[in-house]
């Protein structure tokens, strides 16, 4: 083989067969760069087509107005018309401004409350499942049930539970109007959302927990660490990368909440109106321009939150990748 000839005498001795890659760092870096390009391109291509293009097209849409309108002289104008930032200024002014800030508040409120509750409940669930030996299969199957139910169906289910003469009121012996427009409906949405999605976090954290070597716990126990200490000093740090990804995805998902409040309470209800619902309502009324404007504002809001999250908490997600890379390089140099 050609590469065998290229081997320098000081290289680590190894069988010649299959040794296609040069030991020299430069050649390796080049080939891994080419390999990376090949491996990444399908993903990037698909994402550019199904996510990149629509968002750009949507932004363009937000600068246009369509449908029948009266122009300055009172004539009816049909079709698309460039309106610049009019769609955006309209969002923030008057009645629609109130509706926007209400939806903005609801979106933020739902995200903060549901994700906080989900994280705590999810981690507890994962710890319980990890502790349990008999019955783990059963509990894992049951934990997957709420999450396996499609959001639209779970919305219907909770609407059924929260009926005025439904089972929730029967259990509480109260007459709460859950699905009316008020604070109760906010609570109903939070309960339904947390029920449905905390298993998602539980499942991911469990997968992370199972990656932790048992010996680490043994060693800690020998060194006299109590259960709480083991949780804070071992479990949490080691599970953190998995947990951070789970929480980040939940946050991004909660920020664009739509199906659940729409099915459970209804569209156009002040108490549960989210930004996506507002945008959907506009699109449903064929006001694509302002729908796209709402969507773009939501997009920017989500981008800011995600950026802050990665910057403040997830910094070591990417830092980990760098560290692994550095270790590799030093190891390679040591071998060369």
């Amino acid at each position: 083989m050609a590469t065998t000839v290229k081997n320098r005498p000081d290289a680590v001795p190894r069988p010649a067969a299959g040794a296609r890659r040069g030991r020299r760092p430069k050649g390796d870096a080049q080939s891994s760069r080419r390999l990376a390009a090949v491996l990444l391109s399908p993903t990037l291509l698909v994402l550019a087509l199904v996510v990149g293009y629509p968002v750009i097209a949507g932004f363009r849409e937000s600068l246009y107005s369509r449908g029948q309108q009266l122009d300055a002289d009172g004539f009816v104008v049909e079709g698309e018309r460039f309106v610049g930032l009019d769609n955006y200024t309209a969002v923030f002014s008057g009645d629609r401004g109130d509706a926007f800030w209400n939806a903005f508040y609801n979106t933020t409120f739902f995200t903060v409350t549901t994700v906080a509750l989900e994280t705590v409940i999810g981690v507890v669930m994962a710890l319980i499942m990890h502790q349990a030996f008999r019955g783990r299969a059963f509990v894992r199957a049951s934990i997957l049930v709420p999450w396996a139910i499609p959001t639209a169906i779970s919305g219907l289910l909770w609407r059924w539970i929260f009926q005025h003469d439904g089972v929730a009121n029967a259990v509480l012996r109260q007459q709460v109007l859950w699905t009316a427009d008020g604070l109760e409906s906010k609570i109903a949405v939070i309960i339904a959302e947390v029920w449905k999605t905390s298993p998602f976090i539980g499942l991911l954290v469990l997968a992370g927990l199972q990656m932790i070597p048992r010996e680490v716990y043994e060693a800690a126990r020998v060194d006299g660490a109590g259960p709480l200490q083991r949780f804070w000093r071992i479990t949490l740090p080691l599970v953190k990368p998995t947990l951070l990804v789970a929480v980040l995805f939940r946050m991004l998902d909660a920020l664009r909440m739509f199906d659940l409040p729409a099915v459970l309470i209804g569209v156009n209800k002040d108490s549960v109106e989210t930004l996506t619902m507002l945008s959907w309502f506009e699109a449903n009324n064929v006001r694509y321009g302002s729908a796209a404007a709402y969507a773009t504002i939501l997009f920017v809001y989500i981008a800011v939150i995600a950026y802050l999250f990665v910057r403040l908490l997830g910094a070591d997600i990417i830092g980990q990748a760098k560290q692994t890379g550095k270790q590799r390089q030093t190891r390679k140099k040591a071998k060369a």
């Binding site: 945008s279 729908a291 190891r331």
Partner: protein
């Protein structure tokens, strides 16, 4: 795993009372978790089996069991069997495609060094945060132009948009936690990078890959807004869309009984999928060298 556990269990009887309590605690925990997860689901099942005229009873078990709600699901002009098949095709294809594409990308992100790696990571995570609503309208327009309305690809392609980044991120996290030394050792022993990937990384990563498969499949199966928008023929509707369009036979304001029955039917394939993959996960963990 039980073999590893055994010595510790044998050591316990030394402290009888707290040990027994500690032994019972996990079961209490399990019971609590199962109750939390299953109680609403139980209510869905029970409501599905009530007779339509008893629908508003709040007894924990139906006074009179009935499958009337289930026959209503498949009866009339609902064509729910076809809807289930559509869901299976769309969700299955999405899962296979994202896994095939995602495994390679995640491997590159977790293992290889290349310029703009952080930029690529950034792009992939950025795509997850794009609100679906802003993706929908332009794609709908595109699909109308190229005649893709009422096709499977019109549902599958947009689903890749939310499934792929999720898959890549989860796989990357899993791959990073794998012992890279083993791969390096295999390469020192004469494996090519491809061989090292196939023979060392893939078996070790299997639990993570299967967890990812479950998550992707369920996310695709539960997809609602895209399928609702790019399809207007009943023949091509997925199950979730079909249920949302149920109209009550009895003419009540909302056909809760029929919808609960349909919900039960929709979750059964998922429970089967979960059970199949779950065994693989447990086997993979028991045999895996990740410990």
């Amino acid at each position: 795993m039980t073999a590893v556990r055994a010595p510790r269990a044998a050591a316990r009887p030394a402290k009888p009372w707290p040990a027994r309590l500690r032994g019972a605690l996990p079961y209490a925990g399990i019971a609590l978790v199962a109750l939390y997860c299953l109680a609403p689901f139980y209510w869905m099942v029970i409501s599905a089996f009530r007779r339509p005229q008893d629908q508003f009873d709040n007894t924990p078990v139906p006074v009179r069991w009935s499958v009337e709600n289930f026959t209503a699901v498949f009866g009339g002009n609902n064509d729910f069997g076809r809807a289930l098949l559509n869901s299976l095709i769309v969700a299955g294809t999405t899962t296979v495609l994202t896994l095939v594409i995602g495994v390679f990308t995640a491997y590159a992100l977790a293992r290889l060094n290349f310029p703009f790696k952080n930029a690529v990571l950034g792009i992939i995570i950025a795509t997850t945060m794009f609100p679906g609503i802003s993706q929908l309208i332009p794609l709908l327009k595109l699909f109308t132009d190229i005649g893709w309305i009422n096709t499977y690809q019109a549902m599958i392609l947009p689903s890749l948009g939310f499934a792929l980044p999720l898959t890549v991120w989860m796989l990357t996290t899993f791959f990073r936690q794998l012992p890279f030394e083993l791969e390096q050792a295999a390469m020192v022993d004469g494996c090519t990078r491809g061989q090292a990937f196939r023979k060392i990384i893939v078996p070790l990563a299997a639990p993570g890959v299967f967890t990812t498969a479950i998550i992707t499949f369920i996310a695709a199966w539960n997809e609602f807004v895209i399928a609702l928008s790019v399809v207007n023929e009943q023949q091509m509707q997925t199950a979730t869309v079909a249920i949302s369009k149920f109209t009550g036979i009895s003419g009540h304001d909302q056909p809760f009984g029929t919808q609960m029955a349909a919900g039960v039917i929709v979750t059964v394939p998922l429970v089967i999928v979960v059970l199949i993959f779950q065994r693989r996960i447990v086997a993979g963990l028991a045999a895996g060298g990740v410990k």
